[in-house]
């Protein structure tokens, strides 16, 4: 369905001179710095897969997605969507893909949502019959009925995202690209959107590629993840494998009344990695090996904790870990 072959995107960024003299110099000649946003990336995605395309900020996720949708042309390499290059056959590929960018809406700002859908129906040449059945399905799954007559600008972020999802599914695309679909939403709304993505995938067998920052998104949705850092793929495989590799890492952070000296933090067990900063003590451990209960109890008995927080491993942590492991593997 999607084939990406040694895809590379290099951005040229002008180097601006410093001070007034430098500015005058840039007026006459300009030097560019090359930034390899995506560097020799290859992967295949099969029909019906839900793939999480993840990485830290600025790792090259959006750039890859934009090349896959055809709004950025690769510097070298190739993307094939169903055998066609999207940036060359834009209009043909456009019918086969649906795109939602979390930050920007594709809907018309000032008119009622339903009117936007009617325009899209014409643009994508959806037959009346298909339109009706799809709208029915999408309204149940996404619950957009309640705000169909409201102008888009009055919708909340979560409502807008649901509306955008519906809009991108109206023409029943084979592939759905979702760029940060849950960004800035609260847990309940995130949940709703994840359920909807599952339902769409199940009903239409739509291939979904999504970028996200949220580990929970990935656990809920993706059977496979592709992880990118500094433009290069550092992991491509099932989510289970990576979980197995890192275990069920959790971090317990407790706040103590006064700043604590890092040397004073006594080690508890070799399975718990302890560190401290200012008035916080962090205990990192694998919840499959050490009982959460024990760690909490230990922390509360050893320190005068006034607050506590338990966090799951973040994408940034996973990326860091993978890089460290790769580095170690190289030396060994």
């Amino acid at each position: 369905m999607i084939e990406v072959k040694s895809l590379t995107k290099v951005f040229k960024k002008p180097i601006r001179g410093k001070g007034v003299l430098g500015m005058i110099r840039t007026l006459f000649s300009r030097k560019y710095k090359e930034i390899r946003a995506v560097d020799d990336v290859s992967f295949d995605i099969k029909e019906g897969e839900i793939v999480g395309y993840i990485g830290s900020n600025g790792a090259g996720k959006s750039t890859t997605i934009k090349m896959m949708c055809g709004i950025l042309t690769p510097t070298s390499g190739q993307v094939l969507i169903d055998g066609k290059e999207p940036y060359k056959k834009r209009r043909i590929v456009a019918k086969e893909i649906g795109v939602v960018f979390g930050q920007k809406t594709q809907l018309w700002w000032d008119i009622p949502l339903i009117e936007s859908f009617k325009v899209l129906k014409e643009i994508y040449q959806v037959s009346d019959e298909d339109y009706k059945t799809r709208m029915e399905f999408l309204s149940t799954v996404l619950g957009i009925d309640e705000f169909l007559s409201q102008p888009v600008r009055t919708l909340s972020l979560g409502q807008r995202m649901r509306a955008d999802l519906a809009a991108s599914m109206l023409h029943n695309p084979k592939i759905l690209f979702l760029d940060e679909p849950t960004i800035g939403m609260d847990v309940l709304v995130k949940e709703k959107i994840r359920l909807a993505i599952h339902a769409l995938n199940a009903k239409y067998h739509t291939t979904v590629v999504l970028t996200t920052h949220d580990m929970a998104d990935i656990e809920d949705l993706c059977s496979r993840i592709i992880m990118i850092e500094k433009g290069k793929i550092i992991y491509d495989g099932p989510l289970k494998a990576i979980k197995h590799r890192f275990g069920n890492i959790k971090t317990l952070t407790i706040t103590v009344p006064a700043n604590i000296d890092p040397l004073e933090v006594a080690p508890y067990s070799k399975d718990v990695d302890m560190s401290s900063k200012d008035d916080k003590v962090m205990l990192r451990f694998d919840a499959d090996k050490v009982k959460l209960e024990d760690v909490v109890q230990y922390a509360f008995s050893s320190y005068h904790a006034i607050d506590m927080k338990i966090t799951d491993i973040s994408i940034e942590d996973v990326v860091k870990q993978i890089l460290v492991q790769q580095e170690e593997a190289k030396h060994a």
Partner: protein
């Protein structure tokens, strides 16, 4: 056929969103009225200081001026979105959604906005033509009316073509608004009979930036029978078709350079 239907669907949307903002309509009508009043005042103040402008009376100059508003107004009705393309949308990388749709981008630009403000200009222009025409005791012939209509409609296409060409440059240079503005400002020179300009300028205003071709020459034909109306119409239609084809070609070439913003 499909595109005509699609155009009307989109335009309905554009009008719908405009109706949502009543203040805005008032402001744009006000600004339009004011800007026309200012230009007319300026013209009147200058002409008052001299007996005739190279032999053209106030009424004659007014006739030219009024007629020039028609092609400008028609262009205004249909192609307002290109201003945004040239000034901001490409620069902000705000065109993504158009590139994701299975419809030509240039078509989407026309379908994006319909600017009813242009009707005001049409009304003022026609009013000026009628008032000045009566003053001048113009004899109306079919050929003359024909060439005026052709001048207005195909003149609009010529203006639109220039707008397309210079807003398309934004795809390459990120922002072409000021450039487009300057080219567009040349329409204001077409508001006067081109006979008042020296030969070089006249040639430029007919062959290079042909705003004189569809304003001055048709009016000359109506008022003084200078040219054969049908031959002139043919020239205007030909120029419009060639320019529009060129504009679409340039747009589609430049369009490929569109790059969404990086991350």
């Amino acid at each position: 056929m499909r595109y005509i239907k699609l155009y009307f669907t989109c335009i309905k949307r554009s009008i719908l969103s405009r109706l949502d903002y009543k203040h805005d309509a008032i402001i744009s009508i006000l600004s339009f009225l004011f800007s026309n009043a200012c230009s007319l005042c300026a013209l009147y103040f200058i002409l008052q200081a001299i007996p005739t402008l190279k032999g053209y009376s106030i009424a004659e100059v007014g006739f030219f001026y009024g007629f020039s508003m028609l092609p400008i107004a028609i262009d205004h009705l249909f192609s307002d979105e290109f201003w945004l393309v040239a000034y901001r949308r490409v620069q902000l990388g705000d065109m993504d959604m158009h590139f994701l749709r299975p419809v030509p981008v240039i078509f989407q630009m026309f379908a994006q906005t319909f600017q009813p403000d242009g009707f005001g200009e049409v009304i003022v222009g026609i009013a000026m033509i009628i008032v000045c025409g009566i003053n001048l005791h113009v004899t109306v012939s079919f050929g003359a009316i024909f060439v005026l209509v052709i001048g207005a409609v195909f003149g609009a296409i010529i203006i639109t073509s220039f707008k397309i060409i210079f807003s398309a440059l934004a795809f390459i240079f990120k922002r072409s608004g000021p450039l487009l503005q300057i080219i567009y400002n040349f329409t204001s020179y077409a508001k006067y009979p081109i006979a008042i300009y020296p030969k070089v300028i006249r040639i430029i205003l007919i062959f290079v930036l042909p705003f004189g071709l569809f304003v001055s020459l048709p009016v000359d034909t109506l008022l003084y029978g200078t040219y054969n109306p049908y031959l002139l119409s043919l020239c205007i239609i030909g120029a419009a078709i060639v320019l529009f084809a060129l504009a679409v070609l340039i747009w589609t070439r430049c369009e490929r350079h569109y790059e969404s913003t990086g991350s």
